[in-house]
């Protein structure tokens, strides 16, 4: 697996206001901003949302323009198809609002993961899951599950890129089987491997034996 496979949405070390802020102080504004732009659903709100996100990346988190644009570049087929469809169906204003709102939500969510170490994220998830304990939910295990799910997304994106390159090298870039099957097999192997690593470290176990 290529190194960059681990980097999409993964923590980036910087000395910034957002890096130093507690998880809740980042999560609350991000959630509020995402809900607001989706509720208001206007080009002006989208524009303000985009402005705030850009400010958050460049000033609040001291991230680079490249780190801001990278997630959008990875999503370009989706943005293009959705934007073209909305333009054709409802006009340029709606196309801008829909695509812009998606960009605001994705970038804002990534701003949390880019500025929060996974252990702090895990602590936050465990804290949020605590009220579910009376229902028989183990907060530590639920938090770990969600953290692993988040961690697996960049891995799978990297696997898809590797698979695309391998197919291209063999002249099979238009063959869906050559593109999808290795990703699928890789995902199953990755899940098995992670499960075994967790079991070997006793992290998949409950506190006591049966």
């Amino acid at each position: 697996m290529r190194g960059h496979a681990s980097l999409l949405g993964a923590y980036v070390e910087r000395n910034s206001l957002l890096h130093a802020a507690p998880l809740w102080a980042k999560f609350m504004p991000v959630a509020t901003l995402s809900v607001l732009v989706l509720m208001l659903n206007s080009p002006f709100a989208t524009l303000v949302g985009l402005g705030l996100v850009v400010l958050g990346y460049l000033v609040g988190a001291r991230l680079t323009l490249r780190e801001l644009v990278q997630p959008l570049l990875r999503m370009w087929p989706l943005i293009l198809i959705l934007g073209a469809f909305q333009w054709f169906r409802s006009g340029p204003e709606t196309a801008f609002t829909v695509v812009g709102n998606i960009a605001v939500c994705v970038l804002a969510a990534l701003l949390v993961t880019l500025t929060t170490q996974s252990q702090r994220l895990l602590d936050g998830l465990v804290f949020l899951a605590r009220p579910l304990r009376p229902l028989g939910v183990d907060p530590e295990r639920l938090g770990l599950t969600i953290a692993l799910m988040l961690r697996s997304i960049p891995y799978l994106v990297g696997a898809a890129e590797d698979s695309r390159d391998a197919a291209r090298a063999r002249g099979l870039e238009r063959n869906p089987r050559a593109l999808i099957l290795p990703v699928f097999i890789g995902a199953v192997a990755y899940a098995h491997q992670t499960g075994e690593a967790l079991a070997a470290r006793g992290l998949a176990d409950s506190d006591d034996d049966g």
Binding site: Q117, S118, L122, A200, R201, L203, G210
Partner: protein, 237 residues
């Protein structure tokens, strides 16, 4: 002390295939090496000890705990090091991975952070702690994997071919680390020099322990076995 009481492993598919023949062993020495060809059953034997694989018949006891009934307790007492450290390192950076190992022991985030720092310092890995695990060299990753396993201070360390992916310099680093450990260490290896560092060596062939004794004699027995097997192969045209 690790005791195998007739412990055997049979494959699920096809059920007739025996991966490990019934084993009766007591492993009490500080350093035990296991050598054998690829697919001979070395890794399965190792995985039996921390209940990553359960015996289909018989029993494995680690410090008196049955691996089939006390799996959680056994895994807390037994650390496992994989051949490929990337199979073992789950979190994006070394610091976060060490902290993950310490989550059970230290529920408080500050305590955990401080304990992780001490572990990283002990292994001389502080300067690499915040780098992506994908950006580390093979040797650095393997040392980090060792730190991650030993962070929980297990009583026994199992290592499955820990030097196979390493160059000579890094192999020597890992071997030195192993020499200095307080824990009982059981490891599989293809490096016969490494195998010779143990107090006792097992030779596995076709799921059976075919030699059990002094490392020098075991290595000689393994060489004879390999030469004999290759000599019996039909020559290719």
């Amino acid at each position: 002390m690790i005791i195998f009481k007739g412990a055997a492993v049979r494959a699920e598919h096809p059920a007739t295939r025996q991966i490990l023949e019934p084993l009766n062993l007591t492993l009490a020495e500080d350093r035990i090496s296991i050598i054998g060809a690829n697919g001979s059953g070395k890794s399965t034997l190792l995985k039996l000890i921390n209940s990553l694989v359960l015996p289909t018949s018989g029993q494995v006891l680690v410090n008196g705990l049955d691996t089939a009934r006390k799996g959680s307790s056994v895994r807390r007492a037994v650390g496992f090091m994989f051949t490929d450290p990337l199979s073992q390192l789950i979190m994006p950076t070394g610091r976060e991975d060490v902290e993950l190992s310490l989550r059970r022991r230290h529920r408080n985030a500050e305590e955990r952070r401080s304990a992780a720092e001490k572990v990283l310092d002990r292994f001389g890995l502080v300067h690499l702690a915040d780098q992506s695990v994908y950006d580390l060299s093979g040797g650095e990753r393997q040392l980090l994997a060792l730190a991650v396993v030993l962070a929980t201070e297990p009583e026994v360390l199992l290592a499955d071919e820990p030097t196979t992916l390493l160059d000579l310099r890094n192999e020597e680093r890992v071997r030195r680390m192993f020499r200095g450990l307080e824990q009982q260490v059981v490891f599989t290896t293809h490096s016969l020099d490494f195998a010779l560092q143990a107090d006792r060596t097992l030779v596995i062939d076709g799921g059976r322990v075919v030699f059990d004794g002094k490392p020098t004699e075991a290595v000689a027995a393994y060489r004879r076995l390999s030469v004999r097997d290759v000599a019996h192969e039909e020559p290719r045209r």
